[in-house]
C-alpha cells in the first residue's frame, strides 16, 4: 500500500500468514519534520468481533528500523528508531468509524505522537464485486506541530483487489492512498 497526505509519504508491503498478524516492510517520510524511516512493521490483531451485520477490530501496530533526517543539525543523521500504536475500527455496510494513534521514537533526531480518526458513510450499498464508494472525513491530530488539527474529506473507492482514496485537507494538501491485496 502507498499512503500520501499533507505530511507524509509512505509505502507498506506486508504479508499475513494468518488473520492474527502481518509482517512486512514500512518506509515513511515525514516532509515537515524531514524525517524518514525504513524498517519492519508488525501488525497484530488483538480482537475481532464478527457480528451478523458488522465487524469491529482492535490492532496493535509496531515497527523497528532506521530513522534518518535531512533537517538542520541532524542533516544526514541516522538513528535506530521504533514506533508503536493502536488502531480500532467498526463498520457495517453503511457506516465506518476508525481511530488510530502512533508514537514514534527516532532517537536523538525526533520523537512525536500523532492520532487520527475517521468516519465514513456509503452513499449506496453495492453487491460483492461492484465498485464500492465511501465518503469519509479524516481528522488528524499532531500535538507538537504548528497545524495541530487537519481535516480531510476524502473519497474511498474499491473494486476487487484494488482500493483507492483521494482527498484534500483544510490546508489545500492532497491525500492519495492506494492498496492492492494479493
Amino acid at each position: 500500500m502507498s499512503m500520501n497526505n499533507g505530511d507524509t509519504n509512505s509505502v507498506h508491503a506486508h504479508y499475513s500468514p494468518s488473520i492474527h498478524y502481518s509482517v512486512g516492510y514500512k518506509g515513511i517520510y515525514h516532509r515537515d519534520r524531514e524525517l524518514g524511516f525504513n524498517g519492519v512493521q508488525l501488525n497484530y490483531l488483538l480482537k475481532r468481533w464478527n457480528n451478523p451485520a458488522s465487524q469491529a477490530n482492535v490492532y496493535f501496530k509496531t515497527g523497528a528500523g532506521v530513522g534518518y533526517s535531512d533537517r538542520d543539525a541532524f542533516d544526514n543523521e541516522f538513528e535506530p528508531s521504533s514506533f508503536a500504536g493502536f488502531a480500532a475500527d467498526w463498520e457495517n455496510r453503511r457506516y465506518f468509524v476508525g481511530y488510530e494513534n502512533h508514537y514514534m521514537d527516532a532517537g536523538d533526531i525526533d520523537e512525536f505522537y500523532t492520532q487520527k480518526a475517521r468516519v465514513g458513510i456509503a452513499p449506496y450499498i453495492g453487491d460483492y464485486g461492484d465498485l464500492h464508494t465511501w465518503l469519509m472525513l479524516q481528522i488528524d491530530h499532531a500535538p507538537d506541530e504548528d497545524n495541530q488539527w487537519t481535516v480531510t474529506p476524502l473519497v474511498r473507492m474499491f473494486k476487487g483487489v484494488h482500493l483507492w482514496e483521494t482527498g484534500i485537507n483544510n490546508n489545500g494538501e492532497f491525500l492519495l492512498n492506494y492498496i492492492i491485496r494479493y
Binding site: I19, N51, R181
Partner: protein
C-alpha cells in the same frame, strides 16, 4: 431377470452416496460486511481441491461454494477455512445445483 433387476436397484441405492453430483454448500457467515476484505474468502476457497467457484452475498451474509462432480467439502473443512479467512462460521446447508453464471461486465 427379476434378481438382476433387484441387484441393479440395490447397487444403485448402496453406491448413490459415492457418486455425488455437482453440489452447492451455502455457508452462513458473520462479520462479512466489506467487499474488499471478503476477497480473501475467494482466494482461500479457490485453493481448495474440489471447489469450482464461489459467490458472496453481502446482504444475506452467505457464501455459496460450488463443489465439483464427485468431490466433497466437509462442514469441518468449511468452518476451518471461514475462520482462517477471519470470519465467524454460523452454519452450512448442502444442496444440488450449480453456481449462477457471473454477468459479463
Amino acid at each position: 431377470m427379476k434378481q438382476l433387476g433387484f441387484l441393479i436397484v440395490f447397487l444403485g441405492i448402496v453406491l448413490m452416496p459415492f457418486s455425488a453430483k455437482a453440489g452447492l454448500a451455502v455457508v452462513k457467515v458473520n462479520g462479512m460486511v466489506c467487499d474488499f476484505c471478503a476477497q480473501s474468502l475467494e482466494k482461500v476457497f479457490m485453493e481448495e481441491e474440489g471447489v469450482e467457484g464461489l459467490t458472496v452475498d453481502l446482504d444475506t451474509q452467505e457464501v455459496t461454494i460450488g463443489i465439483e462432480d464427485g468431490q466433497s467439502l466437509s462442514k469441518e473443512k468449511i468452518e476451518e477455512l471461514i475462520v482462517y479467512s477471519g470470519y465467524a462460521f454460523i452454519g452450512v446447508t448442502y444442496k444440488e445445483g450449480e453456481l449462477p453464471v457471473k454477468e459479463q461486465e
